[in-house]
Symmetry: D2
């Protein structure tokens, strides 16, 4: 049994990690970390866990945890993981960081967009960007995983095949993304109150959202060219789900079948990425609760453009599910172990 | 023009007061009180007011306000109004208190259920319980109005005719109430976050909710007998609306027509209480945004019981609308002025 | 592998059966029955099943199905199962009927409340009311299961221990129930459109809902006395979940600990019924997607009453999950097989 | 008093017309047309109208109506108005058509996108596209108004100033739009059931939505150049509201102040279009229930692009409110009469 510690287990991503890991056959959770609820029973915070988890919440202590666990998930605010990690810890335990601390290779870019100083720049090079569909082999041998952001996961999986194939203009990409409210976290903020979110849709973080450089960096790797995107996130009155509608100019004339073939050749062997049938648009309801990413596209000859669409559950493929997928690879488990839950509808 | 001051204008009830008063022909708002947003423009807190209100939010100052206004609405936490009011102020300005401070005549009962000391017990006797359908004449000449609670308004209007007529057992009443989330206020609490409320229904404050003694007191007045109720509020994933489903034993055998006649004789001349047609159940959607209270009933011969049902918009008839209705009576306006907005559906 | 046929697989309960059975280790679905979508691929109706189910929908044909399957689930409108079942079929295949056809032992009562003639009264006696917590042993050997209704399951599990123990007056029970909208089915009706349900709560079927006699019959068995209830269902703007708030007069004075002991002795060995800690109210969000029923109670000395509360997922413990639980018992599987999914929150 | 007839008064747009017209001082509704509910009282369809409207629903009969009314609103499916209108009718009564029949000047374009033959092409030339902010003078003297579509209204008001000024590339415009579910109409369709829409976001009609040519035509008029757009509508789980996020390439370098000045010069005298403060994004909640269109923009120097944003209530400024605004102009009323309702929040 792999021993797991979770730092930040009482946020939404942390709670989803718990849900998924409880359904994983080879894992035992040893540490329910939560600064806000120290000494409270975990099920008192999340009553769905009543009679399933009896542990109490513990304070953050990565040193101690490194001796008790084989892997630590950090589902914490930006900067925390970078401030705790060191060589001694990484020698003893693997870390899967769900924050953004190790996602961006360029330190000044990180510090500019996140507005904080990076405390462990020395580990950025080593950290593996944990998108298994792209970096599977590196993930397997990694000590430190930078688990991708929710928007970047959905955006990247939607665009990646065409970026890699070179058939879209990497300077023309517009990503209009829509997210459920669990993506805003469990902090007590007026803006996230029920009555503020319900019966409303809004854009936010226009041209300033911190997932922008992460998406650009990964798209640049994929295409071998500098990607420059416009990224506009929106908040939707629903709990879970991210939908991406992305637009790009085509660099050459292509048919439906040619593009379908490009997607299929990327994802045919991927269990968790589903290229939908012609004409079927991804919808968040069809992936809810699951680790699936549904993608599809539509060509617009009139404007020589292509629309790329994707849907994920932001808490699963966009956070906790992908983290478990990375863990499975790192410990030699079947990549899908604990992740085969069928999407829950309605 | 009547000059109005609002203390607590940036909560949901305060904002609804602003919305209604802006549509009132004989009123001018002089004071947008808000401790949390002092010096911020009101429209920056509520962008629906952009280009409609240009004022800045002001700190609480009832002394100063008493000289600037003809009437003050206090949409504030329990205890604040009682701590500010005094004879000098009441000599200069009328007060409509949307908190519970002056609703309950029995000070120990108030202090027991609310857990705070009452700072102005001397004004309780004078304060008029501002349910115009019952206390219209007293309201007209009042200096100090205790504006009823949202649950009590809906519960009382549903049950009142039968309590007054003496055909229900006043010790057998069970009120199962359901409220939209704006009733929980605009405070930043985890429990009221979108993801906590959405896709959920729960009871809360079971047997301990502070509206219990208010309902019992008013029902006792209406029936002339001591009322003892069970009151169970529930939180519903919607913004506005209260639905009451109340149960009582009948004290004698009655027909539909007899009961209908009892309701009609109470409410036939009431603009804002609608006794629905036979078999039609009140629904919150049909009163949303309006000052209507829809009521109806159903007799169960099998158990010698009656089901009394009511629906209101908790922010209008349950708070701000009723407060404006009281103001209209106090200043000699048409009782319906500013309150004839048609319910908004969908 | 047990071979399963589903008649009515494209309603919400049918779809939930598919979801749960796909996660069951010992089962293979052989027949996706759906009159409305004959020859359409199942995943075209429910895109969450894309790449998980490749079968086409088939017409109803119980004769043929009896030869291909070991068990048939009928998730169909009232009357259909009763019109199809016969001795020859029951000799070949077990049937778990999710409709109400075999739930009520008294044919005139069934025909009165459902307004249709019963086509197979001869099998009512044999049919087992499939509430495993009560009828576990009978379920194991049954050929025909009457799978309980969603409201009855939640109501009964909340009230059963006290009814059995005789400490509540069986003529005083009031059940105020609240359901998510999946309980209304997947038929195209104006009343169930998004804009009609959203931002609304309403009672419906007041004193006429067809689950009333089912609850009364089961409570009468449990208590050995005739139960007469008031049952009021409400429609809540959420997808899943039923919350029951039930009220009854106590027949004698009891303490919290005595009542807790009564609940515990009933449910301590039940995996799927959770008696919550003192003061914790059941909420639908904590059971969503799972087979759990959460129950609790609160004593009101003031009125010599008790409030009994319960929450289930109407599609799981209230329909498909309970059906699978019954199947597990009938085929000698672990009762929890396929049903250990952790509740999904948020 | 202007006498009004409504054909299609029991759809969502028709019901909103009724709500607004009841609050209009100079209007009397003479005809509640509804094929589906003939002879039913209007308030039985919409209980919010109980005690406000006592009329019964009437069948469609434009001939008869032309003699009884001064103006007819047609809130009907595509093709109906075109099939009923003729010179004799237009000589007697003004028509405001909320369907698309007279919005597009090019008949083959209409017939291609709508898939039906146009029955009255002779009146297309005469019909005025009823966007008062653009065509105010023509509206005043019109006999036949083509009331703009909901998406086109929001898209056009967001983009118009820049199109007119020539600072955006008219072939580069991408409109990513999000709509509440009332836009899908009140027809009983599975796709619009509560459980299908709730907890979901999806794109639909990708590259095929019929509002595309309407937007292109109007943008071409505004800019004097052929506009070619990508238009992607999305369905959002909320009742009301449209949000438009539009992207275009700039044709020259501009500053915030320059662009702000362009918007202001267009809309400074427009009561219903609000150009928000710098950095404030339009949100649907701030316009709900009102006739406001909130717009704003953000310049992206990195990609030489501009993001244009707009929010309206699809049933008010996107349908019924705009129709009343047109009526006010046609009959010489104050343009804002009946339309000054403050946005309802929450």
């Amino acid at each position: 049994m792999v021993r797991v510690g979770i730092i930040g287990s009482t946020g939404y991503a942390g709670a989803e990690l718990v849900r998924l890991l409880l359904q994983h056959r080879d894992v035992e959770i040893k540490w329910y970390g939560s600064r806000s609820y120290i000494d409270k029973r975990y099920y008192e915070v999340f009553q769905n866990m009543f009679q399933l988890v009896d542990d109490k919440c513990l304070d953050d202590n990565m040193e101690e945890l490194a001796d008790m666990a084989d892997v630590i998930f950090t589902a914490t605010p930006q900067g925390l993981c970078a401030s705790l990690v060191n060589e001694s810890i990484l020698n003893r335990v693997k870390i899967i960081d769900l924050s953004a601390d190790f996602r961006i290779k360029d330190v000044p870019v990180y510090e500019h967009w996140y507005g904080i100083e990076h405390k462990s720049p020395g580990f950025i090079e080593e950290a593996v960007y944990g998108l298994p569909e792209i970096n599977r082999e590196s993930v397997k041998s990694a000590r430190l995983i930078a688990n991708p952001g929710c928007y970047p996961t959905c955006s990247f999986l939607s665009i990646y095949p065409l970026a890699k194939e070179g058939i879209i203009d990497m300077q023309s990409i517009i990503i209009d993304a829509k997210s459920g409210t669990s993506g805003a976290g469990r902090g007590a903020k007026v803006n996230n109150l029920y009555c503020e979110v319900n019966e409303n849709i809004k854009a936010y973080g226009v041209l300033t959202h911190r997932h922008t450089p992460e998406i650009e960096e990964q798209l640049s790797y994929a295409s071998g060219k500098e990607a420059k995107i416009i990224f506009t996130p929106h908040l939707v009155p629903m709990n879970r789900g991210i939908l991406v509608t992305a637009y790009a100019k085509l660099t050459k004339s292509v048919t439906y079948n040619e593009v379908k073939e490009i997607y299929d050749s990327c994802y045919n062997n991927e269990k968790f990425v589903r290229v939908l049938d012609e004409g079927v648009c991804p919808e968040t309801r069809w992936v809810e609760g699951s680790n699936f990413a549904d993608v599809n596209f539509k060509i617009d000859e009139r404007t020589n453009s292509i629309i790329m669409m994707g849907a994920i559950d932001n808490l699963v493929k966009g956070a906790a599910g992908q983290a478990v997928q990375n863990m499975n690879l790192m410990f030699g488990f079947d990549e899908t172990e604990g992740l085969l839950g069928v999407p829950v509808f309605p």
